[in-house]
Amino acid sequence: MPLPGQAGDAVSAPEYRWRPFRRLVVAVTCFGLAACGGNSFRPEPLESVDFQSRAQTRSEGDLAVRAAVPGPDETLRLFGVPLYERGVQPVWLEVENRGPVRVRLAPTGIDPDYFSPVEVAYIHRGGFSGQARAAMESYYHDAAMARFIEPGGKESGFVFTNARLGTKAFNVDLFGADKHDYSFTFFIDVPGFIPDHAEVDFAGLYTEDRITDLDEAGLRAGLENLPRFTTDAAGNAPSEPVNVIFIGHGSDLRAALLRSGWQETAAKSELSESPASESRYLFGRRADALLRKARGKNDRNELAIWLAPMRVDGRPVWLAQVIHRLPGLFGILSQDPDIDEAQYYLLQSLWYGQSLAQMAWRAAVEPVPVSESVLGFKYNGYFTLGYQLVIWPSGDPVSLLEVVRLRWDRVMKR
């Protein structure tokens, strides 16, 4: 099963990558330093950086795992160089083995493209003296998490992963000789990152008397009363169909999307204040949450989510719009007019992400055939079969085969 951080999602966090100008500055600085014999390597001791207080613990059977992720500033102090700027994010782990057999921790399970410790030192060797480089190599090697945890033993250390924007979602897979394998899933907040939805006062969005309460039987009829198109800021000129509905608690929805490789957006970031989100309104406001998932090198899917004034058996209803953005001329992102494809991608990502409990298709808007759409991108045209995808996300993993597919409307061919 694809897990968070696996193929396709690795292309991430351009914010963390070096910007060309900074690279130049650093190169010049390094040159200057090299001329003076190079920098010395001075990491701060592990105990002096207080990131372990945020550690989360999971345990099962004889095994207990603690995990924490230092933010960019903490990482700089811990490792003496800004690892995040080169796309490296250390994940701290502590594994306690109270069982009778030796246990193997596979870093591949956390990130199949993880960096080896000496590699991280080598990438950052620029500007350091020969002596400092050697010190770095052995420091990083010693700081790395052990691969084997002996019976009755406890090991801790870092796995060097590819940096991802926002909440860090990963599995810690442990293998024993008894053929019983353990997988612990973590969602860890990284300091310096506040997701957009954390700044939304969900309880204050609607007064209780505005909220419609439904049961499962009344759901299909109830959905008829919700808006089918997003609007502009003034509330008119329907722009594009609301092509997804989620039914579930916010915490389950968030866990489902993170496990499926979707990344949150920082509050007041470039993306949350982009013209695209500026022009997409529902219930008179911009999206409560924006998420994205990188596909190739330059394109991505974007998912905008709004809490609706409706509950089904106590669970909130969310309206959402998913689109696929392509690189156009000079890298300006334009929208793929095939919006049904983006919708299908979302469905598949949740399906493979083991995050889909139940689903249904619902005929919602008039179809726009491909022949009537603008196949170019100047006008942000789109075509669609006109269905909404209704998803009941699962906070806990669900097998690919256990997904319940309700027979609402039959999707016509595409």
Partner: protein
């Protein structure tokens, strides 16, 4: 606020070729007339698999065939169409999940737009052709649907799954390994049958095999067999087909032989840090001959990838050939007096060895494993050097990997208690 990023393909020399092609196309006034798929020659290479009431056929057009089918140079843009035909003779509709075929697949219109640089003058005829060539995602009972999925480019061998979901609890997975014409792969030149004389082969029991593996040379050497080089720290047991399927499934790429075309591709990739995933590798020697197979696993650039080399030994274990090999992780480039430039390898070679074990296990390519001595330990503060003077340290063990062409569940992998690898 516009997000302006300089497109990747406009960096370096890669821009030149496509520009010339575009100029040439523009000169022809761009009448778009792709060749019909039903007469295309690549379908003669199609592979067919059946499971119950479902039949799936798959074929992959080469770069040239793709140009005829779609009119652009999709391969140059990193796009590879995969043709599928799904026949559903069952009672329930089948849902096809392209994400299982390629996690970063392209939408048809995305693939079309990548061919056209000016969004003001998009060729809508081309867009429509790509869209209509796309594979359907639902196949109803009694239907046969065919079309293309636009995937990321894999030369050499295209390995992929076709996942189909039927009714509840009904799931089909078809795994394809499709050779793609166009590369000159090193192991295609090896004649496995004549590498050793028929009477040179020996079959060993488990204990004999362990002893034999411990007496093999510690390290590779150069052509003149004088200096010891990188440690021979992996042993693979399996037929050539097992090795091929196991490593391809785990995401390893084949390696081209050295010829003018590969040399140019390597040079461009070296200078501009691109990803020529099939780049020829230098020859290292065991049994007096260069490696029989070289495989590589690319990461971001040519400077960061894993390399492994395998040599067939004249030994079989339970009928399966035994291979000795070497694996290293490139972590950058450095200058040497011997070869001018070389890849800097991670000195922690045991880390790389364990990476391979876990990589194969997660890819369901590993059936059993164990460890034997033979490399000889080298401590981190007293490392040994390879042929280009790179230091390495190791616990001195070789990992023995029984690979499988058929998927093996990670929980079913068997550990042979010969010796145990330890972190130093």
């Amino acid at each position: 606020m516009l997000q302006i990023r300089w497109p990747l393909h406009l960096t370096g020399v890669r821009v030149l070729g496509p520009c010339l092609v575009l100029l040439a196309l523009a000169g022809c006034a761009g009448d778009y007339s792709p060749a019909p798929v039903d007469q295309a020659a690549f379908l003669e290479r199609k592979q067919v698999q059946q499971d119950g009431a479902v039949t799936v056929a798959a074929a992959v057009p080469s770069a040239g065939e793709t140009r005829q089918l779609f009119g652009g140079s999709l391969y140059n843009r990193g796009v590879q169409p995969v043709w599928l035909e799904i026949e559903n003779r069952g009672a329930a509709s089948l849902t096809f999940l392209p994400l299982g075929l390629d996690a970063v697949y392209f939408t048809p219109i995305e693939a079309a737009v990548l061919q056209q640089r000016d969004p003001e003058k998009l060729n809508t005829k081309m867009n429509l052709h790509f869209f209509e060539s796309g594979m359907a995602v639902v196949v109803y009972p009694g239907e046969t649907r065919s079309g293309f999925v636009f995937t990321g480019l894999d030369e050499g061998t295209k390995a992929f799954n076709v996942d189909l979901v039927g009714q509840k609890d009904e799931h089909y997975r078809f795994t394809f390994f499709v050779p793609v014409p166009g590369l000159r792969i090193d192991h295609h030149n090896v004649d496995w049958d004549t590498l050793y004389a028929a009477d040179a082969w020996v079959d060993y029991s488990g204990a004999e095999l362990k002893r034999y593996l411990e007496t093999l040379p510690c390290c590779v050497s150069d052509r003149d067999s004088r200096d010891p080089g990188d440690p021979l720290n992996i042993v693979v047991i399996g037929d050539p087909a097992d090795v091929y399927y196991a490593f391809i499934r785990a995401g390893w790429d084949e390696t081209e032989t050295v010829y003018r075309g590969s040399a140019i591709k390597t040079a461009i990739s070296f200078l501009f840090g691109g990803a020529y995933r099939y780049s020829p590798v230098s020859s290292l020697y065991v049994f007096g001959r260069a490696q029989d197979v070289a495989l590589q696993k690319a990461r971001d650039t040519i400077h960061e990838r894993n390399h492994l080399r395998l040599w067939l030994t004249p030994v079989r274990y339970k009928g399966k050939p035994v291979w000795i090999g070497q694996i290293s992780r490139d972590i950058g480039v450095r200058f040497t007096t011997k070869t001018i430039v070389t890849h800097k390898i991670d000195p922690d070679v045991d880390e790389t060895r364990e990476f391979l074990l876990e990589n194969l296990a997660y890819a369901q390519s590993l059936a059993r494993f164990g460890y034997v001595a033979g490399v000889g330990p080298a401590a981190i503060d007293d490392p040994r050097g390879n042929l280009t003077g790179d230091p390495y340290f190791t616990d001195g063990y070789r990992v023995v990997l029984w690979v499988s062409s058929q998927p093996v569940d990670i929980a079913e992998i068997e550990l042979i208690p010969w010796a145990t690898a330890d972190e130093d």
